[in-house]
């Protein structure tokens, strides 16, 4: 394999309902830094139906080139069709790095593409860097249930690929009017040769908790002892108008559903205030909340790692502290002290 043939950093641009997924915009920011460090182009690869107009956004967020596959075949995401486009494009233009959002679509696509190329794929990356000289991608992620961080390399294959968590990297501010080169491509695939069909897309009608969009997240952990104890978290969240978060243990214990799980295998949140109550603070949890504006930890165990990862810590029993907190906040809010 001649590594000199491989040049440039690519970002798979995920889109839905006429919009670019936020994680793809974040990855353009990350990709821009890698490309600049290497002195190469940053390209987006955009696949879908009626998606050409989205190239404008992709340029504004940092891409120099966009490879576009705009065909009815790509109306819905299907592994078989999207994979074919990516494989053909990668084969033709030979990027040295391809980044995907660690969404269900991004992970599905990247796993399939990696197998066919074949090449290495690092999952759920939370930090990215590149060696300026060699172009070696340094993809770091929590490993072994989040107990340690590991940097993963792919030394002998190209392109190097990684899926990257949403919200761990900030998107660049868009540069309005920034333009680049559009390269239109097509794949020769007939609908009747494709083995999967999307029969229907059902949007959940109930408004789901979007803890990733909340300004205040109150999260609870196993330290609350029981399902009943966990209700304290709901009370505080309600008082503050915040969303309820939880550690993995709590979700696995069935005290609350998975959409509330903060961390590596859950959701990454970036609220203005994050309360971690009865959460010990495994790195897997920390990576999901470390970008919060203000982190307040309450835990009985003074040695709990969460206290190394917060702005303010209270060592104490949540069942003594939180009720006082709720009471005081109610008073403060009703007297408008907080608002004005």
């Amino acid at each position: 394999m001649d590594f000199n043939e491989y040049k440039g950093v690519w970002v798979f641009i995920e889109q839905k309902d006429g919009e670019v997924a936020p994680v793809s915009l974040e990855l353009l920011g990350a990709g821009r830094k890698l490309a600049d460090k290497r002195g190469v182009e940053l390209a987006g690869i955009l696949i879908g139906e009626h998606v050409k107009s989205l190239t404008k956004t992709v340029f504004e967020y940092g891409a120099d080139t966009v490879y576009v596959y705009d065909q009815p075949l790509f109306k819905h995401y299907r592994t078989e069709t999207y994979m074919k486009a990516l494989l053909e494009c990668s084969d033709k233009y030979k990027p040295e790095i391809i980044l995907y959002g660690a969404t269900s679509t991004g992970k599905d696509l990247a796993s399939a593409v990696a197998t066919d190329l074949p090449t290495g794929l690092t999952a759920d990356t939370t930090e990215l860097d590149v060696e300026e000289e060699t172009g070696l991608l340094l993809a770091s992620r929590p490993a072994f249930g989040g107990n340690i961080m590991a940097t993963i390399l792919c030394k002998k294959y190209r392109p190097q690929m990684a899926t990257v968590r949403a919200k761990v990297i900030k998107a660049l501010p868009p540069e309005v009017g920034r333009i680049g080169k559009v390269v239109e491509e097509t794949v020769s695939l007939k609908e009747e040769d494709i083995r999967t069909k999307v029969l229907e897309i059902v949007k959940e009608t109930v408004k789901k908790v979007r803890i990733d969009e909340a300004d205040i997240v109150v999260a609870g952990g196993k330290g609350l002892g029981s399902y009943e104890g966990f209700q304290l978290i709901h009370h505080l969240a309600e008082t503050l108008g915040g969303a309820v978060g939880a550690s993995r243990d709590v979700v696995e214990a069935g005290w609350i559903d998975h959409p509330h799980q903060v961390g590596q295998t859950g959701v990454t949140v970036t609220p203005k205030i994050y309360f971690a109550i009865g959460i010990s603070g495994a790195i897997q949890h920390i990576v999901g909340m470390k970008n919060a504006g203000l982190i307040i930890a309450i835990n009985k165990d003074k040695e709990a790692p969460i206290f190394q990862n917060c702005h303010y810590g209270i060592v104490g029993d949540a069942f003594e502290i939180v009720p006082v907190l709720i009471e005081q906040f109610k008073q403060a809010l009703s007297s408008d002290k907080v608002m004005k």
């Binding site: 197998t115 069909k197 503050l240 005081q328």
Partner: protein, 275 residues
């Protein structure tokens, strides 16, 4: 006859695992080995499909010899046959090399009994990647359907399956030809306690155990560490934020300080007007 193969993994219970703070390495001995929880749902779904449509459920895993106990757990859930591929030459495999080895085992299993459906858990709790399932599907050239949280229909005469795939804001109904591969969400089912006859059967059950030499057409270069494009170059303790300031005093005093801090940062509450 309907034949489902479930791919499973024995994993250390990462919730219990202890770290050696001096060397920054895991002490695996501290963690009990368990059947990967996502895979328990995969096996349970396979058993439910067997009950619905008839057929056989085989489970396959790659791992060290003690992984036999994970297979026995699957027999308890209701699987019929278990296959362990175990060999030093598999050691150090990343997801690409793992999908290669497991595919070779499935190909061998399929020689005696053709496979209609493969089911995997969404991911393992130690690797957390979710890449092996789609990798196996690509190697067998069958469609991968990830994030499956409901199986609507399997039509064995017309050779298709219909499933719900979970999306960020709902789900999609997808039809695929058979054979295909599902990787399933935990929400697809509940794994009940195993019935006593299954537990007795599991206790007596001896899985098929294969080494590399028992598999066919294997390219040794694609196995284990040698066949793994990704390598771990550096392991370190997670980066910490600045250690927090501890608030002092009794609960009332601590809360009072916290309130003051939040009041001083009132921009934090700006968007909460009208709360």
């Amino acid at each position: 006859m309907f034949h489902i193969v479930a791919c499973i993994k024995q994993v250390p219970d990462t919730k219990i695992i202890k770290m050696n703070p001096k060397t920054n390495t895991m002490d695996r001995r501290t963690a009990p080995a368990i059947l990967n929880p996502y895979d328990a749902h995969a096996v349970e779904e396979a058993v439910r499909l067997k009950q619905r449509y008839g057929g056989t459920v085989s489970v396959v895993t790659m791992g060290p010899p003690p992984a036999v106990s994970a297979i026995k757990k699957c027999i308890e859930i209701g699987a019929d046959e278990g296959y362990l591929i175990t060999d030093r030459r598999f050691a150090g495999a990343d997801t690409l090399a793992t999908s290669y080895a497991v595919t070779k085992a499935i190909e061998k299993i399929a020689k005696t009994r053709p496979v209609d459906l493969i089911i995997c858990g969404k991911m393992s709790i130690d690797g957390d990647t979710g890449q092996v399932g789609p990798g196996i599907a690509r190697r067998l050239d069958i469609p991968p359907l990830t994030s499956v949280n409901k199986v609507v229909e399997i039509n064995l005469e017309e050779r298709y399956a219909v499933v719900h795939r979970k999306l960020e804001d709902g789900y999609e109904v997808v039809q695929s030809t058979l054979p295909c591969l599902f990787s399933v969400e935990k929400t697809i089912n509940d794994v009940p306690y195993s019935p006593m006859p299954n537990m007795l059967k599991a206790a007596r059950y001896k899985p098929h155990i294969w080494s590399v030499d028992d598999l066919e057409d294997v390219d040794i270069k694609q196995l284990g560490l040698k066949g793994s494009p990704t390598i771990v170059s550096k392991v370190w303790a997670p980066q910490k934020l600045a250690g927090g300031t501890f608030l002092e005093g009794n609960p009332a005093a601590q809360v009072e300080q916290l309130l003051q801090i939040l009041l001083e940062k009132k921009e934090l509450f700006e968007s909460k007007e009208g709360m």
